[in-house]
């Protein structure tokens, strides 16, 4: 391709287009929203005017990258002297982010109207957050990754506190911000050590230099540990998970859904990039460490979820435990394990989003709809939603034929393949615990009487998204072949 300039070639541009589209439309919403749609009650037209075209063009750009990779037969396109790399891995995660953003954007308008906080900024921030995620999945340079992470996190700090008049929301945002900054400090420290040891910010160079060092080298360990703290914070692994339940509970439910899914997926992409890249050589030192963390994460997530009465909080703990399962895939570290993490992320997007969407559907003007009691008798009020919720919960618990089973299956398979029998057993035992609290919700929906009788009133976007999530949750579970191939493509790195 023709160089546009020495520092910005056509290849660079080609790789960057999805992020440009997201940032462009995100900023456009921020700047133009009140001019084009001055009447607040018409805000839902933002969706077709800005959000959908923005996401559509992003998808198109991603599709072109994918087509280019397939046509050229090469494994990757590098740009900006190796700061960005488009490969199967980055494309896979970018598709996941795109789906998550699309679903969240579609379901939000009605919810925000009920909350009385329907502003254009909301969509703008979602798009900007996604552009941050793009860099997390695509970046192969410490600086790029760090900026991507901060871009995403900043958007989320605002989104979590988007309900300006709600104290819980403000508190959540504040906690998230403080702790996020705290953990970013560790991450930056770790990155600086990595740079200091190797003299490069490119992951590839760092990897080759670190490979020559002993895994138990104190400097390497220090860099690894501090980096890990920052990353584990983002995926809400124990003991860095404390922010998650508070933030999940306080944030607008749609943001919670987005946060639990997209942010976690992006952080996992980041985590895999770092641990399977530069830190792969020091696996001997971090594998036992992460095993401990994974076990702690599953323990705390699953046990704490049992006594929760707030559905959002319960799902927050459940998402902590899911992070533990995904970590197991990284610990196994063989192709099955990485594929397992990819499948799990994909599956998790649909089932966790779906579960939160049902909570979104429960929200009414005079009712938060966040308590387990609010689900009571849902089967009598709105049988359709009750059954969809059942599908999502079954999937979260990992019961076939839903998608959740498939995700857990590959994780456990990889553990058995690599001889981590103890971890596999512990993980399986916690599945049994998880069934307990998921079925508390099921019991509430199916076996108790409803205090309110009128059916749920929901928007078209929510219904479409719910139906799509449920359909995919079942489809991946019943006919996993194409999705497995998609996840397999994430391995070509």
């Amino acid at each position: 391709m023709n160089p546009i300039s020495q520092y910005y070639t056509a290849t660079d541009h080609f790789v960057l287009v999805p992020a440009i589209m997201l940032a462009l439309f995100g900023c456009a919403i921020l700047l133009l929203d009140t001019w084009i749609i001055p009447n607040p009650s018409q805000r839902k037209w933002l969706l077709p005017v800005f959000v959908l075209p923005g996401l559509g063009l992003t998808g198109f750009a991603l599709w072109r990258q994918q087509a280019f990779l397939a046509a050229s037969g090469s494994a990757e396109i590098t740009a900006f002297q190796g700061a960005l790399t488009v490969d199967g891995f980055s494309l896979f995660f970018n598709w996941v982010f795109l789906i998550a953003s699309l679903i969240v954007a579609l379901v939000s308008y009605k919810y925000l109207e009920i909350e009385g906080e329907h502003h254009g900024e909301y969509y703008g921030l979602i798009l900007l957050a996604q552009s941050g995620m793009f860099f997390l999945a695509t970046g192969t340079d410490l600086v790029t990754l760090f900026i991507g992470l901060e871009l995403m996190a900043l958007c989320f700090y605002i989104l979590v506190g988007f309900l300006r008049t709600d104290k819980r929301s403000n508190e959540a945002a504040m906690k998230y911000l403080i702790l996020g900054a705290f953990s970013s400090g560790f991450l930056a420290y770790g990155f600086s050590l990595l740079y200091g040891m190797t003299g490069s910010t490119k992951l590839r160079d760092i990897a080759s230099t670190l490979a020559m060092r002993d895994a138990w080298d104190p400097m390497v360990f220090l860099a690894m540990a501090t980096t890990a703290v920052g990353l584990l914070f983002k995926i809400s692994a124990v003991p860095f998970h404390m922010w998650a339940p508070d933030a999940y509970e306080g944030a607008p439910t749609t943001v919670t859904a987005y946060l639990s899914v997209a942010s976690k997926a992006a952080s996992f992409a980041f985590l895999l990039r770092i641990f399977m890249g530069p830190l792969a050589a020091s696996r001997a030192s971090w594998e036992p460490l992460l095993s401990i963390v994974a076990i702690l994460t599953m323990t705390v997530g699953n046990l704490a979820a049992i006594s929760q009465n707030n559905v959002k909080r319960l799902l927050a703990y459940s998402s902590i435990s899911h992070a533990g399962y995904m970590l197991l895939g990284l610990i196994a570290g063989n192709p099955t394990g990485i594929k397992g993490v990819s499948v799990y992320v994909l599956v998790y997007v649909f089932m966790n989003l779906g579960a939160f969407l049902v909570v979104v559907a429960l929200r009414r003007k005079d009712l938060l709809g966040e308590d387990v009691e609010d689900l009571a008798g849902l089967i009598h009020r709105s049988p359709g939603y009750a059954i969809l919720m059942l599908v999502f919960l079954l999937s979260l618990a990992g019961i076939p034929p839903t998608a959740g089973f498939l995700g857990k299956y590959y994780i456990f398979l990889s553990l058995v393949e690599t001889g981590h029998y103890l971890l596999a057993v512990v993980g399986t035992l916690y599945v049994a615990v998880a069934v307990y609290y998921y079925f508390r919700l099921v019991r509430s929906m199916f076996q108790t009487d409803a205090s309110v009788t009128e059916p749920l009133a929901t928007s078209l976007g929510l219904r479409v998204s719910l139906a799509a999530s449920a359909a995919l949750t079942l489809a991946i579970g019943i006919y996993p072949e194409p999705f497995l191939r998609l996840a397999q493509s994430s391995l070509t790195r």
């Binding site: 504040m174 906690k175 403080i178 702790l179 705290f182 953990s183 560790f186 138990w216 104190p218 360990f221 540990a225 501090t226 890990a228 703290v229 584990l232 914070f233 003991p239 860095f240 404390m242 922010w243 339940p245 508070d246 030192s285 036992p288 460490l289 401990i292 705390v300 046990l303 704490a304 979820a305 049992i306 006594s307 615990v433 307990y436």
Partner: protein, 548 residues
């Protein structure tokens, strides 16, 4: 049946074996309101149990000897083993027990008695199961186990003896039977005897070849007899038939072909396979002249009783009762078309196994042997090597062939003379040889002997002993067991209520309890959270110090 044939190991073969057996017992007892049919079904079942017990024991013994029940693995395991020529070892025992299984299913002496009785079933069932498919299972199984049998010449000799004895015994019984289906039933037993004879002399492919050709003409004959019975409104006694040739022409002509084929007239299916068996019996190192003579005699008897059947049924004067006579009619196309197809098969089927002697025919006419060659290749080497050593010239073979054809023709001619032209002769002979006839007619009293020995002697005699045993030991045991069960159930109720339920409640209680500390840690204070992050970092370094 398909599973039986497709199985690659004895265990699965046995499943198919039992499956086809079960269907057969049930079909024999199809007309269950007739006592004789029910009894025949039971008889088939019980007699086969004896054989199956042999099969299972043989299979287990074989497993003990080779460590596998897969055909290929058994074959491999056996390939290095020297033949047990004189001593009667483990392999011989295994082979013999497997053969016991085969005698049950393939109706060989002494377990053949169920097959003639099985004619109580519907005629098409007889044609399918008791002529063509199921009864050949034993032959198939032995042929499959050729690697085993060839290592145990002693067992092979027993097999050949049993086969020859069955062949001539059944043929002799068939000479005097009056029920048309019973004649065919004994003919089937006799032909199976031929196949087993071929197995015994190591001519495995010939056995399967005869199985193949026999299926055509025996199914044809059975269905033909069914057609005759149908035409005569259910009459099965040949003494009440006769002169049916022109009344049911299609049945007549197709059965004519079948009878010619089974008698062994050159050009039809039966000739090729039967002649090959006789030749192998004569020439194989495992065979002998005596067995050959028995086989030859049987061939003559076969021709005789088949044509006795033909003459009694289709030729001569009609002995049909008038009221039945009026209703005689040719069967509908649904019955005659299969007959014609099978007749064509009876003519043509033999041409895939033309004798080596007829060198005018190209190799492709010996397709059958080559087709089966891979399965039997090891046997071939042995038999053929020996065959060369004891070289027989072509003249001998021609002569023997001519002999067997001649004896078949003689058999037919005698039958014609007795029952066609001069019906008085048989009566005279019957009168002069009264004891022999009665013995033959009563099937050598084998059923009676079995009844006396096993059914009455063993069962009834043993029954009394058993009764005492039953009322004292078994009943006592049952009562005791009942008491024990109730006692243990009381214990388990208690166990369930207190220990199991308790454990379930306890574990859910524990899980709940365990979740509270986690909850307490979640204070909601951001400083505490940050402290936890720091604690995590400290934990990491503690791990480093400990882990190094």
């Amino acid at each position: 049946m398909l599973m039986l044939v497709l199985a690659n190991n004895y265990a699965l073969l046995f499943v198919g074996w039992e499956g086809v057996g079960l269907c057969s017992y049930l079909l024999i007892g199809f007309y269950f309101h007739k006592k004789s049919a029910g009894d025949a079904g039971k008889k088939a079942f019980i007699v086969n149990r004896v054989g199956d017990a042999g099969f299972i024991l043989g299979m287990l013994l074989l497993f003990a000897a080779t460590g596998s029940v897969k055909f290929t693995e058994v074959k491999e395991a056996l390939s290095g083993v020297p033949a047990e020529s004189i001593e009667f070892g483990m392999l011989s025992a295994a082979a013999l027990l497997l053969f016991v299984g085969a005698t049950g299913k393939s109706a060989q002496f002494p377990l053949y008695t169920w097959l003639p009785d099985a004619m109580e079933g519907p005629t098409p069932v007889s044609a399918l199961i008791h002529a063509a498919t199921m009864v050949t299972a034993g032959v198939y199984m032995v042929a499959r186990s050729n690697a085993l049998f060839q290592l145990t010449p002693m067992t092979s000799n027993i097999v050949a003896l049993i086969g020859a004895f069955t062949a001539i015994l059944a043929a002799s019984i068939g000479l005097v039977q009056n029920d048309i289906k019973r004649v065919l039933a004994y003919s089937t037993v006799s032909q199976l005897g031929y196949m087993v004879l071929a197995l015994g002399v190591g001519a495995y492919w010939v056995a399967v070849f005869h199985l193949f050709t026999h299926a055509f003409f025996k199914a044809l004959l059975f269905l033909g007899s069914g057609s005759v019975i149908h035409a005569l409104s259910g009459e099965q006694d040949m003494r009440n038939m006769g002169g049916l040739k022109d009344k049911i022409p299609v049945t007549h002509w197709t059965m004519f072909i079948g009878s010619v084929a089974i008698a062994g007239i050159p050009g039809l299916a039966g000739f090729f396979s039967k002649d090959e068996i006789l030749w192998q019996t004569f020439s194989s190192p495992l065979g002998s002249k005596a067995l050959y003579v028995v086989g030859l005699a049987t061939a003559g008897m076969t021709a005789f009783y088949m044509w006795r059947l033909m003459f009694l049924t289709f030729y001569g004067k009609s002995r049909v009762t008038p009221e039945v006579e009026a209703k005689i009619h040719e069967s509908p196309a649904v019955m005659t078309v299969p007959l014609m197809v099978l007749a064509a098969g009876s003519v043509l089927a033999g041409w895939v196994g033309v004798p080596k002697l007829w060198s005018a025919f190209p190799e492709s006419f010996r397709l059958f042997e080559h087709w089966l060659a891979p399965v039997f290749e090891s046997t071939h080497a042995v038999v053929e090597e020996a065959g060369h050593a004891a070289h027989h010239d072509a003249g001998t073979e021609w002569m023997l062939m001519a002999l067997s054809v001649a004896i078949a023709v003689i058999g037919i001619l005698i039958a014609r003379h007795f029952y066609g032209t001069n019906p008085a002769i048989p009566d005279r002979i019957e009168a002069s040889l009264k004891p022999l006839h009665t013995t033959l007619y009563n099937k050598w009293y084998v059923d009676e002997i079995y009844d006396f020995l096993f059914v009455n002697g063993l069962c009834k005699g043993g029954g009394n002993v058993m009764k005492d045993f039953d009322s004292n030991v078994v009943d006592g045991g049952v009562n005791g067991a009942g008491w024990l069960t109730r006692f243990s159930s009381t214990i388990s109720i208690w166990w369930d209520t207190w220990i199991i339920d308790g454990a379930v409640r306890l574990s859910s209680f524990l899980v709940k309890i365990a979740s509270y500390p986690v909850r307490i840690l979640q204070t909601g204070q951001v400083q505490a959270y940050a402290l936890f992050v720091l604690a995590g970092v400290v934990l990491f370094f503690g791990y480093y110090i400990a882990g190094r």
